[in-house]
Structure formats: C-alpha cells, structure tokens
Symmetry: C2
Subunit: 142 residues, 2 copies
C-alpha cells in the first residue's frame, strides 16, 4: 500500500485525483498505475483499471487469478466490475468512499447475486494518508 | 445499431464474445469498437469501454456530454459505471442481459442514489439479431 500511496501523490502533482493502485502476484509487483483521467483524457482511466490492463498485458492472460490489488480508495462500480471480471483474489483498499465507492457502499457490486466472482476484501490500511491526500487535493481545487 | 451489429459479427469471427458498440455525436460516428478481451488480453476490453476511450481521445475531452452510445448487449456494471463517468447523454442497447447486465438488472447502476449521471436509456432495437449472434457463439463454444 505504501507504493500505491506514492503513486497517489504523483497523481496529485500531475493535477489528477490522487489515487494509486498496485497489483501483486506471488509477492512481486506486476503492475502499478495512478489515476490518469485528465491527462489522457479518458473517463475510464482510474488507477485500478490501468493497473488491471497492465497486469493482464504483462502476464498475457485475461484473468488475474491469484493476484492481489492494492488501491488507495474504495473502488467505484466501474472498477469493482473490472475486479470481478479480472478474477482478482484479493482487494485491499485504504480510504472508504461513501459517495462513489461500490464495494461497501452504493451498488455493493460483490454482494450482487449476479456477481460471478468476489475477491476477499480488506479495508483501512493506509486510510489516514489516502484520505488526507484526497482532502488536500479537493480543498486546493475549490 | 446496424453498425454495432456489424462490429459484433466481426468480434465473433475473431473468437470474441460478439458485442459491438458505436458512439455518435451530432449524427456522426465518433468512435466504434468490438469486444477484444481475449485478443488483447484485457478483461476490461468490452466494446463499450473501448468505444468510450476512443471517443474521449478523438474529442480530446474526458466527458462525452451530448454523445449517444449504441451497444448490442445490455452493459455490465463496469461499462454502466464508465457510461456514468463519461456523462453520455443516451444509451441504446439491443439485447437485454439478465445474467450480466447492470442497467435493468442486477446492480441497476443508474438507479443507485450514488450515481452522478444517468443517461436516457432505450432498449430493444436490434435485439433479435444481437441475441441470436450471442446464442450462436456460445452454442459453438460448448
């Protein structure tokens, strides 16, 4: 999660909403990304989406079975859907997101009967730092 | 929708789940895509996602305000989330998808209180042809 927080800090410096994501397999980082929606521009370029795309490319497979995703903010519905499609084994997120998160709030994607794969979820590691980066970013933009 | 159905047919020939998507702005096609999850490989490479990324790139903006998306299958949670992020004005889908769709089934993304933008939705145009392409594809794979 420390690396994901570094990536979130880099996103903020680039004028992006500060969210970072890292995908780990067998203790090694296989992909990492920061939010890039403004730079590209691409509304789908959340850190989780970019990390999943990169991991699939690096591993040469559509399913990231056995991989774990670390992300600094609770994933939205788009990213939670992608996590299910990718068959990620575990999701670790730092800050919770009552307004946009769809893991423990809103659509609760993994709790839907329709959901074909639900990762194990742990939340809260790095929460203080992740939330403080987001708060500072949005205060500055107001 | 005819063009989206053509793209779905091309996807089937390439061994992909046959789904096609087209984004239109002011009566002109600005982006189109077929499902490419297997070819890339990339679990996020649904037709809608690729079309949204291409349209944002072509128009040079993160938000596709005023654009309409035509897709041959009811979008899943990931794609519905992306449609909301992209602020697409209208969504037209052909075949409904009780198992994986998240517009009129499952997570019903646009009906969530949390959802920041809901497109107008029309369903059913081209449904017979879209559903028949999907059925033929899955029968052949069994």
């Amino acid at each position: 999660m420390d690396r994901a927080l570094d990536l979130a800090r880099e996103a903020a410096l680039a004028g992006e909403v500060p969210v970072g994501a890292v995908i780990v397999s067998g203790g090694e980082i296989v992909a990492e990304a920061a939010n890039e929606t403004r730079r590209r521009p691409d509304p789908t370029a959340h850190a989780e989406m970019l990390a999943i795309r990169r991991a699939a490319h690096t591993l040469g497979q559509e399913r990231l079975t056995g991989c774990e995703l670390y992300v600094t903010l609770e994933p939205c519905a788009m990213c939670a859907g992608a996590i299910a499609h990718a068959r990620l084994a575990r999701l670790h997120y730092a800050a919770s997101d009552p307004k946009g998160g769809a893991v423990d709030h809103g659509a609760r994607i993994f709790a839907q009967l329709q959901c074909l794969h639900s990762p194990e979820v742990t939340a809260g590691t790095g929460e203080g730092e992740a939330a403080s980066l987001l708060r500072a970013f949005f205060v500055e933009r107001r």
